[in-house]
């Protein structure tokens, strides 16, 4: 059963990890979430709440302890090629030029060379790196490297883009620019995006909906609609709706910061 219109259906997903000492650690308690096609959804939560684990489960890099994740109706049993992955760090291959890094998925999937090359050039243009194809990763800034990683994740034209704190390692200014850049790329490429972040502002600026996680074991506390008009810009941050939603989301985390039982005393 494919839930009505949902491209990614997460049903009662639960994930336990076994620690070295043999204890089991609950990373995700019970998460259900339906993500529509071409939706941009952000997952926010405190560090260690299992939000990255959820992304890895969708990517098929981890297996569920119980529950199910379906993509287009098929249960996820392992990595699949209609997903593009962007990590917290760019994970570029330093011995390859920028262009050849972008071409890695084409090489693995044995795509036709000429059209792959054309597409790679197009993607470099899309992420604003026209003319940087022959450079090596260590000649680029952190923001530029992450753009290469985004171009690479789009190379094999996946319908889903999974991004794990893709701008977490960047400075605030670069991060802001990259957020707007990502929105432009998303509009141009019509992907379903699931982006994990711990920045409330980033989540609101980017997404259609924000899924808020509790601290570990991760559960979904709330899914907040973001009815801000698109295209969004830096000015969106001053929108009254943005400010109100940011306040609401921040409220969730302040709750977490106060240990149980002391809330009334404070």
């Amino acid at each position: 059963m494919a839930a009505g219109g949902a491209l990614i259906a997460i049903e009662c997903a639960r994930k336990l990890f076994r620690s070295r000492s043999g204890e089991s650690l609950e990373a995700i308690a019970e998460v259900s979430l339906a993500i529509a096609s071409q939706e941009f959804i952000c997952v926010v939560g405190p560090s260690g709440c299992g939000k990255s684990t959820l992304l890895r489960l969708i990517a098929g890099l981890e297996t569920l302890s119980s529950g199910a994740i379906r993509i287009g109706g098929d249960e996820v049993a392992g990595p699949r090629r209609d997903i593009g992955l962007v990590f917290q760090t760019p994970v570029l291959l330093p011995w390859r030029t920028v262009l050849k890094n972008v071409l890695v998925p084409a090489e693995v999937l044995k795509l036709e060379r000429r059209s792959a090359l054309r597409r790679a050039h197009g993607l470099l243009e899309l992420v604003g790196l026209h003319g940087f194809g022959e450079r090596y990763p260590n000649e680029l800034s952190g923001g530029m490297r992450q753009r290469v990683a985004i171009a690479r994740s789009l190379m094999h034209d996946p319908s889903i883009l999974l991004m794990d704190e893709p701008f977490g390692a960047l400075d605030a200014l670069t991060r802001e620019a990259m957020n707007l850049e990502l929105l432009r790329i998303w509009r141009a490429s019509a992907k379903t995006v699931v982006l994990v972040t711990h920045s409330i502002e980033e989540a609101l600026l980017l997404s259609d909906r924000v899924a808020v996680f509790t601290p570990r074991p991760g559960r979904i506390r709330d899914v907040v609609d973001v009815p801000l008009p698109r295209p969004r810009s830096a000015k969106t941050r001053t929108d009254a709706v943005f400010v109100r939603l940011a306040d609401k989301l921040r409220g969730y985390f302040e709750l977490d910061a106060v240990p149980n039982g002391q809330a009334s005393a404070a």
Binding site: L61, P79, V108, Y136
Partner: protein, 264 residues
């Protein structure tokens, strides 16, 4: 790379001057302290001995034989080492089962095997190649195993997320990523391979620099022995320089500290 005359002078003048001083000291000091010229021949007579050996057709021919033995052994030994490292790292279990023996064998001075190899393979060029190969094998093997296992988890996950085959994973990510380690092994192996060929020739051979050295030794031709040492040193520098050249060409992208202790 072309250097400006000034930079050229800065780089080469100090070692050239030191070399000249050392040669002059070697030429004149021993005799002035009463050391017999026969035991400690001056550079001039070493040069004459080299020239004489060359005129008798001994030098270049024997040098080329030793060079061929060392280089062939090095190439075979290193290639096999990379191949075996690939097989061993395919399975954690095999790696864990074999590693203590490999490390143990690595600790054995491989030249001790040389007499055995000469008995098994004969006194021809093949036994020297075998010894050079065995002696080159281990440093490359150990480094390649470490190199194949030392890789960022995300790089592997990137390949897994694309549903890459094990071979694609190895070819696109694991092998290039291991090159700094493999070259650390090759830098050691290339010098070892000359030692291997030479020891093989000491034990039993009718050709090669090792054989020539033994002949000069037999005739108490100390100048000739020094001459062979000079040729061996030049050969070592040339081979090591060749490996260094490829090292820099292929591993230009690595962080300096990952070049290993051997590179500068």
């Amino acid at each position: 790379m072309m250097l400006a005359p000034r930079a050229w002078l800065d780089r080469y003048a100090p070692p050239a001057a030191a070399g000249a001083v050392l040669l002059a000291a070697w030429e004149y000091l021993p005799s002035s302290f009463g050391v017999p010229v026969l035991l400690m021949p001056p550079p001039s007579s070493v040069a004459r001995a080299l020239w004489a050996a060359q005129e008798r057709g001994l030098l270049l021919e024997n040098a080329l034989i030793t060079l061929a033995e060392a280089l062939t052994g090095f190439v075979i030994g290193s290639a096999l080492a990379v191949f075996f490292a690939f097989l061993i790292t395919r399975s954690r279990l095999i790696e864990r089962a074999l590693m203590p023996y490999l490390v143990g064998f690595q600790a054995l001075p491989k030249v001790a095997l040389a007499p055995l190899i000469v008995v098994w393979v004969g006194i021809g060029i093949e036994s020297k190649i075998t010894i050079a190969a065995i002696i080159s094998f281990f440093p490359v093997l150990i480094n390649a195993i470490v190199g194949f296992s030392t890789i960022e988890a995300e790089k592997i996950e990137l390949m897994r997320s694309l549903v890459a085959s094990r071979w694609q994973e190895f070819r696109i990510v694991v092998f290039p990523n291991s090159l700094p380690f493999i070259f650390a092994g090759l830098n050691v192996a290339i010098v070892f391979s000359i030692t291997g060929a030479l020891v093989g020739e000491f034990i039993g051979a009718d050709r090669g620099l090792g054989n020539l050295l033994m002949q000069f030794n037999f005739n108490m031709d100390i100048s000739g022995m020094f001459g062979v040492l000079v040729v061996l040193a030049l050969m070592g520098i040339a081979l090591h320089g060749t490996v260094r050249f490829f090292h820099r060409r292929l591993v230009f992208w690595a962080e300096p500290e990952r070049f290993g202790p051997d590179a500068h």
